[in-house]
């Protein structure tokens, strides 16, 4: 199994390096902003409010740097596509490797990349916090602390849920470039983008508006529970996607 993971890591190395360079770029920019807010022009000419805003922006940039790292895992789907088109899929299915094991490699890769991006993301945020001298970035008032880390974790998890789903779609459609495949791939992103719009429309109606506000207020007090829930949901979703993918590979070629 580890040799197959090595293969995938080798194949994504260029993309991983580019993404890592982007991460370094974001972190550098974040550091420059915080240092400027402490010793440079921002501290010299900016008001308290501007300095605080610059530090918040620097922490947010570090959060973004962590989320940018997640995009490396999108390469897994490129690998699956190339494996189908280049014949590796057929080769590996013809070998002694169990289909469960072969499919698992791609999902394990996604989890490994998630752990790496979490570690680097957290390092980036902590560095921005240290340089700025801020202990937290408060996004929602009266809702605990560590909102920057929460944003990083929840944002990354949402992205990885999408990657697990896309991996499943890759196996279901054998990476064909049909319209159905494209629609299946964008469907979750479309749904997620529709929810805030529906919310916005509903909030215009007073009764719904106050109900949504109350719900958000309640949820925002339990942000860490939300993150935990997102993690559990990610694990379950990935496991279900894996099981369906294995079943699909096992049934390949069968007339349904």
């Amino acid at each position: 199994m580890k040799e197959l993971i090595y293969r995938n890591l080798y194949l994504i190395r260029k993309n991983a390096l580019i993404t890592f360079a982007l991460y370094i770029g974001f972190i550098t920019l974040s550091s420059v902003i915080t240092l400027s807010a402490k010793f440079g022009n921002i501290s010299k000419y900016g008001s308290e409010e501007i300095i605080s805003g610059a530090n918040d922006a620097a922490i947010m940039m570090a959060v973004l740097a962590g989320i940018v790292l997640c995009t490396t895992s999108d390469c897994i789907n490129d690998i699956i596509k190339k494996d189908y088109q280049g014949g590796w899929h057929k080769y590996i299915v013809s070998s002694g490797v169990k289909k469960e094991q072969y499919v698992a490699v791609n999902y394990i890769m996604s989890i490994l990349l998630m752990i790496v991006s979490f570690v680097f993301g957290i390092i980036g945020v902590l560095l921005a916090r240290t340089l700025s001298g801020k202990s937290d970035l408060v996004i929602i008032e009266n809702a605990g602390g560590n909102h920057d880390l929460l944003l990083l974790i929840v944002g990354s998890l949402v992205f990885y849920m999408y990657i697990s789903y896309i991996t499943l779609v890759s196996y279901l459609t054998k990476c064909t470039d049909s319209l159905e495949t494209q629609l299946l791939k964008v469907a979750p992103a479309f749904l997620i983008s529709v929810i805030p719009i529906v919310n916005m429309i509903l909030s215009e109606v007073n009764a719904y508006g106050s109900e949504i506000y109350n719900t958000i207020s309640k949820i925002s007090k339990h942000l860490w529970m939300m993150a935990g829930g997102a993690l559990v949901f990610f694990i379950l979703l990935t496991f279900v996607c894996y099981l369906i993918s294995v079943n699909t590979v096992k049934k390949e070629g069968r007339v349904l």
């Binding site: 199994m1 580890k2 040799e3 197959l4 090595y6 293969r7 080798y10 194949l11 190339k82 494996d83 280049g86 014949g87 590796w88 057929k90 080769y91 590996i92 299915v93 013809s94 070998s95 002694g96 490797v97 169990k98 049934k251 390949e252 070629g253 069968r254 007339v255």
Partner: protein, 292 residues
């Protein structure tokens, strides 16, 4: 595990929209090389994909190296090498990296043997496969295929598109591989001359059905090409020949029982036939005009 046949196929059936692999049965005895011939779309790849369980078949039984498929699939596949017409390894990789990956795929992967084959085939270790020629890619596949103590090689159009020098080199390697009598090969190919050179047995498939299967020399010896004038052709009964080709110079007929035909039509000129001619005449056996 002891077994007499490396591959045993009984009644293999697989239905697609517009094509049926119909009740295929043949054996590849241990220690032999079986040529699997047929025109494009005849069902060769479908049969091979079924043998490898890349696709699920609808009916029939397949035994590989004495193991029932698909129940003992993993056990059987550890001792099989499949070689395809295109390189299945990512072209961004080199033989150096492939060696590392293969260790995880094949239990009996032997890096020393792989290195020996790379050296023998003059394949660079660090060069990316994208820069390899078609011949080099095929040699690489064969090097990988022979480096994990495989007892059965299954090749799907592996020599197609290669120049005669490389093909010849590859055929020599297969003959060397067969020096170990426990090794066997199933080789599908359009290039019947290659199979004529190395195959012990031949299975000829057309339109999803096995038309001929048996020892190659017997098949070639039993068949013959009758050459006669158009006038003499009229004396031949339809059931005595497979199909006929009418040219400006006369008629050529493929017969499947050369000695009997020689007795029945005394004076008829019967020449030896090649596998290619056998294939060509069988494919055209259903021409309504009885000639093509």
């Amino acid at each position: 595990m002891d077994y007499a046949n490396a591959i045993e196929i009984r009644g293999l059936t697989k239905k697609y929209d517009g094509f049926t692999l119909d009740n295929i049965s043949f054996d590849v005895p241990k220690g032999s090389i079986m040529g699997f011939i047929g025109q494009n779309g005849a069902g060769k790849t479908t049969t091979i994909n079924s043998i490898l369980n890349v696709i699920r078949w609808d009916r029939g039984e397949i035994k590989l190296l004495g193991c029932d498929m698909p129940q003992d699939e993993t056990k059987a596949k550890e001792q099989i090498s499949a070689i395809f017409d295109v390189l299945p390894f990512n072209e961004d990789m080199s033989a150096y990296h492939l060696n590392k990956v293969m260790r995880g795929i094949w239990k009996e992967w032997n890096p020393e043997i792989f290195a020996e084959y790379l050296d023998r085939f003059n394949l660079p270790v660090k060069k990316k496969f994208a820069k390899f020629s078609k011949g080099m890619k095929m040699k690489l596949q064969i090097a990988a295929g022979l480096s994990h103590n495989a007892k059965l090689l299954i090749m799907d159009e592996a020599t197609t598109g290669l120049d005669p020098v490389v093909r010849n080199e590859i055929l020599d390697i297969f003959l060397e591989y067969l020096q170990d009598e426990s090794n066997s090969i199933l080789m599908s190919s359009h290039i019947t001359s290659d199979l004529e050179k190395i195959a012990d047995r031949v299975t000829f498939i057309d339109n999803g059905r096995v038309l001929l299967t048996g020892i190659k020399d017997e098949i070639i010896d039993n068949h013959g090409m009758v050459k006669c004038s158009k006038k003499d052709f009229k004396d031949f009964l339809r059931e005595d020949y497979i199909s006929a080709r009418v040219t400006d110079f006369g008629v050529e007929m493929l017969v499947d029982d050369r000695s009997n035909i020689a007795k029945k039509y005394s004076g008829a000129v019967i020449d030896k036939v090649s596998l290619e001619e056998i294939m060509l005449f069988y494919v055209n056996r259903n021409n309504t005009s009885n000639s093509f």
